[in-house]
């Protein structure tokens, strides 16, 4: 089952929460709407579920228009941020709820519920009531409840945001595995970019009600189309300067007091250029090979701050007055660790510069 969203606009009073959004979720795809709070991602999800009625546009499930159909007839499964597990029903009856609405007989319900609970690793918990369950278990019940009705489309509204960090990481890979094994078309909403990158087939990054960029996780991360996407996904150093020379697709940009190399389609000499470099695109000190040193411009940086994280070290380096960059080094040899005040040589491949 695929989902097509065509020119959908949803207003709340004068506020356009979703502005003319068009996108398609392919059959069996895990598609994520990613964006900061208030960007319209949940509103769009709720339009697809039918909890709000868009002012403009159309929504199709497999070419069949659904936006005028009542929610309970759309054949969706939904998982909510705050679980929404019925407190007056035990685990079994929570999961059986949708099956009963579909008039399955008790004989059919029993094995279906058991299988669903096994799938979310809650077998044996049938008689527990929600107040006896932990947050993670509640969310598993909610997932089992949504999956047991074999929905055409699974909608998930920030399902992990109420869980603690460790559980969140565990649960997201479980969700991904379930989705893969059932091949169910899934639309997932989150504000957590790491979660989105790790779990999705494709991502739509939203801001102020519009889709800024759509693509596979690596595309979104490596080739952000604009400054918002570059800044929202991961950590990035932004630079602004003037192009002073250009030769064979390589340009030199004067940024404050230093010169930096950029690659590719630069504008004309003398024009302003803004670009971004990811912290891990920099190489520092011992990591730089002789070839790189001769080929790329290397820069000296004074260490302002060191954040030692074990498997990596984060540095704040001052390139010149008023120009600092964040750099990540995976060189964890103790003798290579630099201290505040020392100077480090750093270097980057101009291919990894993002012009924006």
């Amino acid at each position: 089952m695929s989902i097509q969203i065509v020119n959908v606009t949803k207003k709340f009073g004068n506020l356009e929460a979703v502005k003319d959004v068009t996108l398609e979720v392919k059959t069996g795809e895990f598609f994520t709407l990613l964006g900061p709070s208030g960007c319209g991602k949940t509103t769009l999800l709720r339009s697809i579920a039918g909890f709000n009625q868009p002012e403009k546009g159309e929504i199709y499930f497999n070419k069949k228009r659904v936006d005028k159909i009542a929610t309970h007839k759309r054949g969706i499964g939904m998982v909510f941020q705050n679980y929404a597990v019925f407190p007056h029903l035990n685990v079994f009856n929570n999961v059986a709820y949708g099956l009963k609405a579909r008039n399955f007989s008790a004989d059919e319900i029993q094995p279906k519920v058991s299988r669903a609970l096994q799938m979310v690793r809650l077998a044996g918990m049938e008689d527990r009531f929600p107040n006896q369950l932990s947050g993670g278990q509640l969310q598993r019940v909610a997932i089992a409840r949504a999956l047991v009705i074999e929905p055409q489309v699974l909608l998930m509204d920030e399902p992990l945001s109420n869980l603690d960090a460790k559980l969140r990481v565990e649960m997201r890979s479980e969700i991904r595995e379930l989705q893969q094994s059932m091949k169910i078309t899934t639309l997932y909403v989150t504000h957590d970019q790491e979660e989105a990158l790790s779990i999705s087939d494709r991502i739509a990054v939203m801001n102020h009600g519009v889709v800024e960029q759509m693509g596979e996780p690596w595309e979104i991360y490596n080739t952000p189309v604009n400054r918002f996407v570059a800044g929202f996904i991961g950590t990035t150093n932004f630079f602004e300067g003037t192009l002073i020379s250009e030769q064979g697709g390589q340009g030199i940009v004067q940024v404050s007091e230093i010169k930096m190399k950029v690659s590719a389609h630069s504008p004309c000499v003398g024009e302003k250029v803004s670009f971004a470099i990811r912290p891990e695109a920099f190489k520092v000190a011992q990591e730089i090979t002789e070839a790189e040193r001769s080929c790329f411009l290397s820069l000296p940086g004074r260490v302002n701050k060191v954040e030692y994280l074990g498997f990596m070290t984060k540095y704040d380096l001052e390139l010149c007055r008023g120009l600092s960059v964040k750099v990540v080094s995976y060189d964890v040899l103790p003798q290579h660790l630099r201290k505040t005040g020392e100077t480090i040589e750093l270097c980057y491949d101009p291919q990894r510069v993002l012009i924006c």
């Binding site: 909890f51 499964g77 909510f80």
Partner: protein
């Protein structure tokens, strides 16, 4: 379609309150400025009020007794609430249950029983006299304050208890960590945090005391308060002054309204208590101290329940005129059932009908207040607060005056009794429904709908099921308080629609104490049994439902 249904419901609720409460009360207001015969404008009633001491003293009595009772309730309720919250006293849930009983049991039964014990010919009074000890008179201020403090202290106690139990442990620890001693932390951190809650309880005590009718009727004698004075002016056989009754009513409404405004808009904005993350530590007392603290609390609880034991015991004793003889007898009950079976039926009938209607209107109102928020629902929120500031007697006077003539004549029918009960109890049902709905996550409805259940069915299968416990316990509380309602009933009843409370009251007034005791006992049992059932089956919102 769906939204039209709710708009129509909102309008209907408005109309009910407009016709059956606001118009009658406005009519009182204009009536207080009119002459009795011609209806011309006059200030005579207000001039008389300030001229004759018997009038302005009744205002003074109301305020003073209300204030002393509230202060007394704080003296008892605050330490008790603190002890139950923070110390390991024994049987905490039993303490809470026993403390809610006096709030539910009819206060005038307590007044009646204390008169039997300590009044002029009282059992204890006489006993002490044989030893040459003379206690002062219980009539007037001492008796009223005794009854009000012992019956209404729970407002303060329960509020204090919930307040001190909700102070986050870490806030007190922060106080101590900054170098403040435990005692100083109590005075500078804990108490200021809980104080608005305590004062809310004190205001509830104050309002209940000044709106109370039965207690001063039985025990006030030479110091009548506003309610009693208004009732007498309205019904006196010597010659009624309805205009004066209206004027006295207006003064009472002004006081109660000011109290409610203080509580809702001043204190509730200063409510610092949030859901505690860390529950406050319970101090483990040494066995001796624990026994002592528990003993004091239980002794007081028993003291507050003495009147009801007395009424029960007396109802099984033999009576000759106003004198009891210590012999077992069912004579009072035989008398009650044979001569006054109708009022017993009336009480149950009226309470049941009124409760059903109150639930039928109150639950949708609670839904509108929480789930259909709009300018209208805000207005509705204020309108349903009004019955809290109108004492039963005053509402009774307003209704009987307004529906005495004109297009709808209800005076003398059972309908007018039901009306007054519904108007007064429906806000409780609406509030308790609203508070349940506040706690229900709207995404529960959405989850059900997303699973293929239609919105209508969802309301029945999810929302209604989850509300039911709270609604049923709210309904039981309403039913119980209607059974023991005296103030508006005494004004509105007609000879064929008398109730147990009226019979009991007339028994007291005409010195037919056996009848009074029998009816008291039937009422006590009719109150206690449903309450016990309610706490057993719906123990989740123990006590909370009866507070504003």
């Amino acid at each position: 379609m769906k939204s039209r249904f709710w708009s129509l419901t909102t309008i209907l609720i408005f109309l009910i309150f407009f016709f059956f409460m606001i118009l009658p009360v406005l009519n009182l207001f204009t009536g207080s400025f009119q002459t009795q015969e011609k209806g011309a404008f006059t200030l005579q009633n207000y001039l008389s009020f300030f001229h004759y001491p018997s009038y302005w003293r009744s205002l003074w009595n109301s305020i003073l007794i209300g204030l002393i009772s509230a202060a007394g309730a704080m003296i008892v309720g605050v330490p008790m609430g603190y002890m139950v919250s923070r110390w390991n006293v024994m049987g905490k849930s039993l303490i809470v249950t026993l403390s809610t009983l006096p709030l539910m049991l009819p206060t005038f039964i307590a007044a009646f029983a204390w008169v039997i014990l300590l009044g002029r010919g009282g059992i204890i009074t006489k006993f002490l006299q044989t030893w040459g000890i003379h206690i002062g008179s219980i009539y007037g201020y001492p008796g009223m304050i005794l009854v009000f403090v012992s019956q209404l202290y729970s407002y303060v106690f329960l509020m204090t208890l919930s307040g001190f139990s909700a102070v986050d442990e870490s806030i007190e620890e922060a106080g101590c960590s900054l170098g403040s001693s435990q005692l100083r932390t109590f005075w500078t951190v804990s108490l200021p945090l809980v104080l608005p809650t305590i004062l809310s309880g004190a205001i509830l005590t104050f309002m209940s005391a000044i709106e109370n009718f039965g207690v001063p009727m039985i025990i006030a004698q030479q110091t009548p308060n506003l309610v009693v004075k208004a009732y007498i002016e309205f019904t006196s056989e010597v010659g009624t002054h309805p205009g004066m009754a209206y004027t006295l009513s207006i003064f009472l409404i002004l006081i109660t309204m000011a109290s409610l405004v203080a509580q809702r808009y001043y204190l509730s904005k200063r409510n610092f208590i949030q859901a505690a993350r860390g529950k406050p530590k319970v101090k483990q007392l040494t066995p001796g101290k624990r026994l002592l603290a528990s003993g004091i609390i239980y002794a007081f609880l028993i003291f507050t329940l003495i009147p009801f034991f007395v009424a029960l015991v007396l109802s099984f004793m033999e009576m000759r005129g106003p004198v009891f003889y210590p012999r077992f007898s069912l004579q009072s009950y035989v008398y009650a059932f044979s001569r006054s079976a109708r009022p017993i039926f009336n009480s149950y009938f009226l309470a049941t009908i009124s409760t059903l209607v109150a639930v039928l209107i109150g639950v949708p109102t609670g839904y509108i207040l929480t789930r259909r928020k709009s300018a209208y629902s805000n207005a509705l929120d204020i309108v349903i607060m009004l019955p809290f500031v109108i004492a039963g007697t005053i509402l009774g006077i307003a209704l009987i005056t307004f529906f005495n003539q004109g297009w709808i004549v209800l005076t003398g029918t059972w309908v007018i009794l039901v009306l007054s009960y519904v108007i007064r109890k429906m806000p409780f049902i609406a509030r308790s429904s609203a508070s349940i709905l506040y706690q229900l996550d709207p995404s529960l409805d959405e989850a059900s709908i997303s699973l293929g259940v239609s919105p209508m069915k969802t309301f029945y299968k999810v929302t209604f099921r989850l509300m039911m416990g709270g609604v049923v316990s709210g309904a039981i509380l309403s039913w119980v308080t209607i059974i023991s309602e005296l103030s508006s009933t005494l004004v509105l009843r007609s000879p064929s629609w008398s109730t147990m409370t009226v019979e009991m009251y007339q028994g007291v007034v005409s010195d037919d104490l056996g009848k009074a005791a029998a009816f008291s006992s039937i009422m006590i049992i009719s109150t206690v049994i449903p309450l016990l059932l309610a706490t057993k089956y719906f123990s989740k919102d123990k006590g909370g439902g009866i507070l504003l």
